[in-house]
């Protein structure tokens, strides 16, 4: 007689709690996204907007000055050049600030992806990068994701290995599967491999794909370039 009400009371309380938690956390999610947006918006606002407006006005002015006073026009052009460069640097900085793609997180993510697809996975080498700039880590993580997505989608493999090695000379990522390989006529014109090449270009990296038994994709980013590019990106 007493047991049931307490049980019910507890159950109801639990259900209410559940609902509250869901609600609260949803709000937190929204808030986080909201704050992130606001932050980015502020950044864009204060720096880029100003610089781009300036470039707009000064190119207008230079154009009109050309026939009247070339040396003044040249001064304006020098300002434009300078402004474009510093704006570009800011874009890079913003990119590296915003990066969410930490390599260790992405490794965890792709492992789960492969597991879910019934493909055994082996991860070798460094899981965390010690000396690579943020932008490089970002690019590498994106390459990892694309390559593993391809393994899951196309390879029919049973096994996939992922190896990361970071030396003072270069950063290397090898993804190898034992699937059907690339030899079959490629059906789709996908964006994956192209995306990998394009982003690697940004950090002077390169990609090599081999396909004998299964597929091997090797990505290299030289360290010297990392530093040069990294300065702007840090």
């Amino acid at each position: 007689v007493i047991l049931l009400p307490i049980n019910t009371y507890n159950r109801l309380k639990r259900q209410k709690l559940e609902a509250q938690l869901v609600d609260a956390n949803e709000k937190i999610s929204q808030l986080l996204v909201y704050e992130e947006r606001q932050r980015i918006a502020r950044d864009l606002h204060d720096t880029l907007g100003q610089k781009l407006s300036m470039i707009g006005l000064k190119s207008d002015l230079a154009n009109r000055l050309i026939d009247r006073d070339t040396s003044k026009a040249k001064n304006e052009l020098a300002d434009i050049n300078q402004t474009a460069r510093s704006a570009l640097k800011e874009v890079r900085e913003m990119l590296s600030d915003m990066r969410g793609a930490k390599l260790d997180e992405e490794l965890e993510h792709v492992s789960q992806l492969l597991n879910a697809a019934g493909i055994a996975v082996e991860i070798k080498g460094n899981k965390e990068l010690k000396q690579s700039p943020a932008l490089v880590e970002d690019v590498l993580s994106m390459c990892l994701k694309e390559a593993v997505t391809n393994v899951v989608k196309h390879s029919q493999a049973d096994y996939c290995s992922i190896e990361v090695s970071e030396t003072s000379d270069e950063l290397k990522l090898i993804i190898e599967d034992d699937g059907i390989g690339l030899s079959q006529p490629r059906t789709t014109k996908g964006h994956g491999l192209r995306g990998i090449s394009e982003r690697l270009e940004f950090v002077n990296g390169e990609v090599k794909i081999e396909s004998q038994q299964g597929t091997m994709i090797e990505i290299k980013i030289p360290n010297i370039t990392q530093q040069v590019k990294g300065e702007g990106a840090q």
Binding site: H45, K58, L61
Partner: protein, 141 residues
């Protein structure tokens, strides 16, 4: 001749904007200010037809300055880059004649100035943000 005072805290922008407007045959930049306070003083002193102002400036921002000049005969134009929550509303309260993009082509700016001189108001659609005073999701529900 349309007499103009410009207020902008970014020196390079101030210079470029001034030179561009000076190149128009019917316009003359009579004064340049680097904040809202200076702008109000210059407008009192020089009695221009038009005062063009940036919003974000030290000492006194462009919207506050416009509010202060609400009864002056001089028409005010606000130039800015992005729509920001609440700015447009305040600009309207300050009865500005123009609310325009900082990067609008100089011909467009010049023609907006001319049409403002005839008593019209010109607002750039890109900058109107009334509906978007982004509600904070925490207070929304």
């Amino acid at each position: 001749m349309i007499k103009i005072v410009i207020a902008e805290d970014q020196n390079m922008l101030l210079g470029a904007l001034g030179s561009l407007l000076d190149l128009e045959d019917d316009m003359e930049v009579v004064g340049k200010a680097s904040n809202g306070q200076e702008a109000v003083e210059l407008v009192k002193e020089l009695e221009p037809d038009i005062c063009i102002m940036d919003i974000e400036m030290p000492v006194k921002n462009g919207l506050d300055a416009a509010q202060e000049m609400i009864d002056f005969p001089c028409k005010t134009i606000i130039l800015t880059t992005f729509a920001r929550a609440g700015y447009f509303e305040r600009a309207r309260k300050a009865q500005v004649s123009g609310y325009l993009l900082k990067d609008s082509p100089s011909e467009d700016l010049a023609s907006s100035i001319r049409s403002i001189m005839t008593g019209r108001k010109v607002y750039a659609p890109e900058l109107i943000d009334l509906a978007f005073e982004e509600p904070n999701p925490l207070t929304e529900r």
